[in-house]
Symmetry: C2
Subunit: 348 residues, 2 copies
DNA sequence: GTCTACATAGAAAGCGCTTGCTGTCGCGTC
DNA sequence: GACGCGACAGCAAGCGCTTTCTATGTAGAC
């Protein structure tokens, strides 16, 4: 029914071993033989059996990419960059590797389960993107899993996630704290003193780091923070919209709203506009990430640009062993403040 | 070194066969035995060898999802919906399947290569999203490949792609033509007579269908189309920006611009604003897809809403055999016109 | 008390491929 | 002219699992 290596061998009048060698190209095979084999492969329309070959060779060409939400361009952009480097068809690298993009939805259990699934497939490498969950128990479980993967020969790279020491993973972390600080600093310098902050979900490193950066800036300028000025939500537009209404209810005199990311900022803009406030005349708004749509907001969003494509590409190369890991196994990637139209001095 | 089934069997004092049966749960095993095995699995921290199991069982739990551009939410949303239904961890379906998201970048070769890779992995199912390339030769190659996949037992589902008869694939197509017509119809009814159209890349079914819908509407209203009014570009913001400048150069008197999709429309808005035109007072703008950010454009974008999540979910279920395929193996999914602030009658 | 039937466990034969080792040539070397 | 060696090709032993078929024990059935 399905054609196997042996069929090809028979047709080409060689042994299966030879066919395998031709296909893998890591053993001297006479040109004439090779051609005969290739011809047979073509005629029979032979397709290698991946599982069988993975079993025999004890290696696989699957690479796992874990993302929180594939529908979010933040992750989509990174996934795309990673994939372009791991050597799938058309990728820069040779070989033909399959990227397995796993959508965890931010759920700890799924994260773990996907890792097990990848371990089961004997993945060649795994790249984990985005912030981590801060629950101690989950973190321990994750670290143990990562350690095991690394021990089994799977290269593990973290992209935009804090280092997990002792796990053997390489980490490319984003300087969320520094970026957050710079952003709020910018607002303070413009003259803002009452700043609302829409944070992401609690218990996530990204959320905490950005929030801490924000508070660093406030503290550095001797601004005492009102607890009412911080609201937690999800990393999406809807959440930004609702959180802003809440913020406005709590303190209608806010002159600036800093959002956990650009999507949240967009929601904030919508809420502010609906409440009759002009941006940035009445209230300034700032985002984070600088996703492609941010520049199209009206006014264009002031935000912190994270080099997602570059970081993803680098993570991909490291995962493939095509780039030296950073010294100490960790590198911090900085963001860049992009000042645009959505921020201005208060009472314009 | 690595723990195998046999190790678990030895530890649990049973045969490998029994361990396998416990793990697969499709054969009667006494409760006490099962527990003993499970305990051994746990103690040894055993992880099944995916390739070995796929080889022996001649099945795999991989599901391929082909997308043009994973960084584009259009595809991200569909991929996410598909994945939530194919039964990965946390998905609605049982079992633990791994979704392999393949980024073709719109390249015919990559599309084909990925399909081969998936075939090699003996994927359980494959879902192809987005429009197809219209090149006859490529289409023939694709159809042959799909046919082969289907014959090998891989379920093939097309989501947002025209049917490929004779390939055994189930198709959920978007009614791009109808949506395009409705959209332009709306503009015409508002009084527009000089409409620019920014089409997607040529040779793609999505591009052609939407454009044809546009022309259907023009024809239905006896509006003769000026060839200068159509520009082709990519499906991204940048392209929309440039195409709009070109359109304006060709005919500064246009009163409406219809874009191939929302991203393109956003670029168009930016270009129009920069040229000093107000939206919709001077020029109306319309998009397609209704991606999440469209409602946040200022003014909010008039567009055609495509039920990406619903369609993706349905495609996922069909791919998993959990939903009856539509009669004839094909169903057309309609879009819904969303009239918002970016369109109004010409000359305010 | 023997017989049939069912529930459960094991033996063993692969699944299709890779690869270490073992030939077998043909040619250059002394 | 015998020998050594390099270049190829083949043999065969797995890789770790699934599954058919068979064996065993036990419980009803008569």
């Amino acid at each position: 029914m399905t054609v196997t290596l042996a069929d090809v061998a028979a047709r080409a009048q060689v042994s299966p071993a030879t066919v395998s060698r031709v296909l893998n190209g890591n053993y001297p095979v006479a040109a004439s033989t090779r051609e005969r084999v290739l011809k047979a492969v073509d005629e029979l329309d032979y397709v290698l059996n991946g599982p069988a070959s993975a079993l025999a060779a004890a290696t696989s060409d699957l690479v796992g990419i874990l993302v929180n939400d594939i529908a979010d361009p933040f992750f989509g952009i990174m996934a795309s960059a990673i994939q372009s480097e791991i050597g799938g068809p058309g990728g820069r690298a040779g070989g033909e590797r399959l990227a397995v993009v796993c959508n965890t939805g931010g759920s700890p259990e799924r994260e773990l389960t996907y890792l097990t699934l990848l371990q089961r497939q004997r993945a060649a490498a795994v790249v984990l993107t985005g912030g981590a969950i801060e629950d101690a128990q989950h973190k321990a479980a994750m670290d143990a899993k990562l350690r095991k993967l690394a021990d089994a020969g799977t290269r593990v790279v973290l992209c935009g996630r804090p280092q997990a020491p002792e796990t053997g993973a390489i980490a490319l972390t984003f300087d969320n704290r520094g970026g957050g600080q710079e952003l709020t600093e910018h607002l303070i310098r413009l003259g803002h003193r009452r700043l609302g902050y829409i944070a992401g979900p609690e218990e996530r490193t990204t959320t905490r780091d950005r929030l801490e950066g924000h508070r660093d800036a406030l503290a550095a300028h001797g601004i005492e923070e009102d607890p009412r000025w911080t609201v937690h939500g999800r990393y999406d537009r809807r959440s930004g919209y609702e959180a802003t209404l809440e913020l406005l209810r709590r303190d209608p005199s806010l002159t600036a709203v800093v959002a956990a990311n650009d999507s949240v900022a967009l929601g904030a803009c919508a809420a502010l506009r609906e409440s009759g406030r002009r941006i940035p005349d009445d209230v300034s708004v700032a985002g984070f990430d600088d996703l492609p749509f941010s520049i199209d907001a009206v006014p264009a969003l002031t935000t912190v640009r994270l080099p997602l494509t570059e970081a993803g590409a680098r993570a991909g190369r490291i995962a493939m062993g095509r780039e030296e890991p950073p010294p100490g196994g960790i590198a911090s990637v900085r963001g860049e403040l992009m000042v645009r139209g959505s921020t201005a001095g208060p009472r314009g």
